[in-house]
Each structure stands twice: as C-alpha cells, then as structure tokens.
Symmetry: C2
Subunit: 235 residues, 2 copies
C-alpha cells in the first residue's frame, strides 16, 4: 500500500458526526419516498425515536434540510417538503462583506460571462412582447447627466429583463444574487482601473440586434457593451 493510498484510507474513516449521518439519512428518505411538495414528514420526536438519537440531533439535521430549502417548518404543522430553492441557501453567504476580495472579483467576472453566454437563449425565446418592453425600458433611459442611482437602477432593469427573456428562473435568481456583489465591486475601490465611461454598443443597439439580428451578433454586441467592465479587469 502506498503512502497516498494509506492517507486516502485514513481520510475516509468515518469522521462524520451523528448529525451528518442523520442528515444524510433524512435526505435519502425524502428522495426514496418521492414526496411531493406540501407533504409532511414525521415529527421530531418520532424521528428521534425511530432513528435512536436525541431530538437535538434531529433538530440540527432538520435545520440543515431547512437551509437547503428542502423543508419548511411550521409550528404545530410540523415540517413539510418544499420545492428546493438552491440559491436561497446561497443568498446568505453571498454577502459582499463576508467574502474575500478575490472571490468578489471572480463573481464580478462571472456576471460578465453569464450575460455574454446567454445570447442564444435570449434569441431563441424572445417574444414580440419582450421586445416591446425592452424598447419601453430603453425609452426611459435616464440622461447622462442624471443621478447615478437612476442610471444604475436603469441598468438593473434592462439587464434584468434580459435574464427574464431567457425564461430560465435559475439563471435569473443567480443574477439577483450576483447583483449586490457586482454593484459592490463596481463601486468600491476593488478594481484598480478607473471606470472609463466610453460609449460602446448601447442598450438600444442591443435591442435592435435582439429584434433583427442573430445570437452571434448579440454575443459580440454584448461583449462590446460590457467593454467598460472588461477594460477594468484586463490590463
């Protein structure tokens, strides 16, 4: 047996706590029984008895499930299955103040990646109504002289609509999560370079392409539109 194999073996000895096991147990139970949303699971004391552990352990395990968005606990009612919201969990830790700088920058980049990459989904799923709405939003675009908060608000509205067009709820939620971080990185002095407020492809330009262009064109236009941000990242 090699050293590496030994270590592997050593690491794999069961170091998990009781709560860990109970948690795994419960998750397994949930997926085995194929429970529907709204179904309720056994009471804490029942679980404690049937699994042979204290209610404390059960409670901690249930709390984890709750944090995972698998269940929701109500007094008297007990715990019921809920549609798991993967990003609900994340939203807690996605706090600019608790994340280190490197991670913050990386999240900033992640947003750029998303917006460029989602072009195909926008072009595939955009409707007549979406385009009309986009045009409306663009029409309301604040003047360059107006308050910064207005401009940011408008930015969010426009790009938020783009996410909506993808008809991908997960992506939309993800964006909502990234937003405060993006904002934070953008406005705090985290990025060395200054903001160059050159005008590249405008929102209007993007809408035109969404209406008449192709996915490929949209990708390129979006890349150009985001040039200000990219310029701050790359040398």
């Amino acid at each position: 047996m090699t050293i590496a194999a030994l270590k592997e073996n050593f690491n794999s000895i069961d170091t998990s706590s009781l709560v860990d096991k109970v948690e795994a147990n419960l998750v397994q139970l949930l997926q085995e029984r194929k429970l529907k949303v709204g179904d309720s699971i056994p009471k804490e004391v029942e679980l404690a008895e049937s699994l042979g552990v204290s209610r404390t352990v059960i409670r901690e395990a249930l709390m984890r499930l709750r944090m995972m968005g698998l269940i929701d606990s109500k007094k008297k009612k007990g715990s019921v299955i809920t549609s798991p919201d993967i990003f609900g969990t994340l939203s807690k830790s996605m706090n600019p103040h608790v994340l280190d700088q490197d991670t913050l920058k990386e999240i900033f980049e992640l947003r750029l990646v998303l917006e460029i990459g989602m072009a195909d989904f926008i072009m595939e799923r955009v409707t007549r109504e979406d385009i009309e709405e986009l045009k409306l939003i663009v029409a309301e675009e604040p003047e360059f002289s107006e308050k910064l908060s207005f401009q940011i608000e408008h930015e969010i509205k426009f790009h938020g609509k783009l996410y909506e067009i993808t008809r991908n709820e997960t992506m939309k939620k993800f964006q909502k999560l990234l937003l405060p971080v993006f904002d934070y990185v953008h406005s705090s002095g985290l990025l060395s370079k200054e903001v160059v407020v050159k005008k590249y492809v405008s929102h209007k330009g993007l809408v035109d392409i969404i209406e008449h262009g192709s996915a490929e064109m949209l990708r390129n236009a979006m890349r150009n539109h985001l040039e200000n941000h990219f310029a701050r990242i790359f040398d």
Copy 2:
C-alpha cells in the same frame, strides 16, 4: 397606503426567531471586527452569556454560519473563521435527486451559458503551458468506439481544463457543482430529444482557435461545439 404597501409592511413585522437574530448578530460581529482567517471567535457559553440566550440558540446560529462556510468548529479549539466557500453550501442541495425537473433543465442550460461566455477570459489568460496541456488532453481523446465512460471522462477533463484557464476559482467550483447535474440531465430521459452525435467543432478545433484565434472566434466555435446539447433543448 396601498394594499401592496400594507402587505409589505405586514410581512416585515418581526417574525424572525431568536436564532435568526443571533445569526444576524454574529455575522455582523464577524464583519465588523474584520477577523482574519484562522482567528477564533468566542466560545459557545461565552456567546450565550453575552447575548443573553441559551447555548441551544447559539449552537443553531453557529451551525448556520458553519453551513455558510464562515466558520469551522473543532473540538477544544472552538470555532475559527474560514475563508467562505460560497459553493460549499450549495453542493449539498445541488443533488439531482432532490431538484425538480425544471430546475435541472435550467442548470443544464446554465452550463452552456458559462462555457460560451467564458471565451474572453480564456483568451485573455491562457498561457503557453495551458495550450500544451490542452493538446496533450486532445491527443488522448478516446476513439469513438471506446466505452462511453471514457468519453465522458475525457469531456470532463477537457472542459475542466478550460475552466481552469479562466483562472477563476469561483467559476471552476461552480462548474464542479454543475457537473453531476449536467451529467444526470444528459443521461436521464429528461430531455425529450435524442442525442444526435453529429460532429461539430471538435476539441482539437477549439484548441486551434485558442492558440491562434480570437475571443469572438472561440465563442462561435464553442457554440458550435455544444450544438448537440443546444439541439436537444431547442425545438
């Protein structure tokens, strides 16, 4: 006051439990003190005393922080600050078996978005060594006749390397998270359409572009490379 405003107000009445408050309190404490990784926080009993709640509540709150990846608890040592791993939290709930079908499909899409969108970061940050490594990986590409598991393994290796080239750890972790889901959706009968094993831009083609082409070219090539997947999603 409008109905909506009323409801807003109504929802905002403090319905949070003690644990919620303590949790918020602790998070605030951590960010205020600007604690470094490795620093330890007060013991459970101390916290319980100073905040005037039971140890039970403290423990539940600490467990949440632990799930957020903010702290790590060791016996005797107490709890210490850790570099928050935002996706560590997610990995638990990112279980194909507990996610509903719609979410699974959306995650499938998310991966496609990422791979197309990250072209700029690849082109910006790729090194000579990366390209050599990519070439090596491509050279090892299994024959079309070989076992499917080999091909999948190779896929993961190649695309994993691409994520690595972005030098974005967060993105890489995110991909690692998405991987099992992607795999699950791909192989389970979740997508209506069959897999069309037409050959589009190959891995080798992608490497060529990374070596000699532009970000724009890479985006288009990647889109083409992923056509098999897109075809299964779009009608």
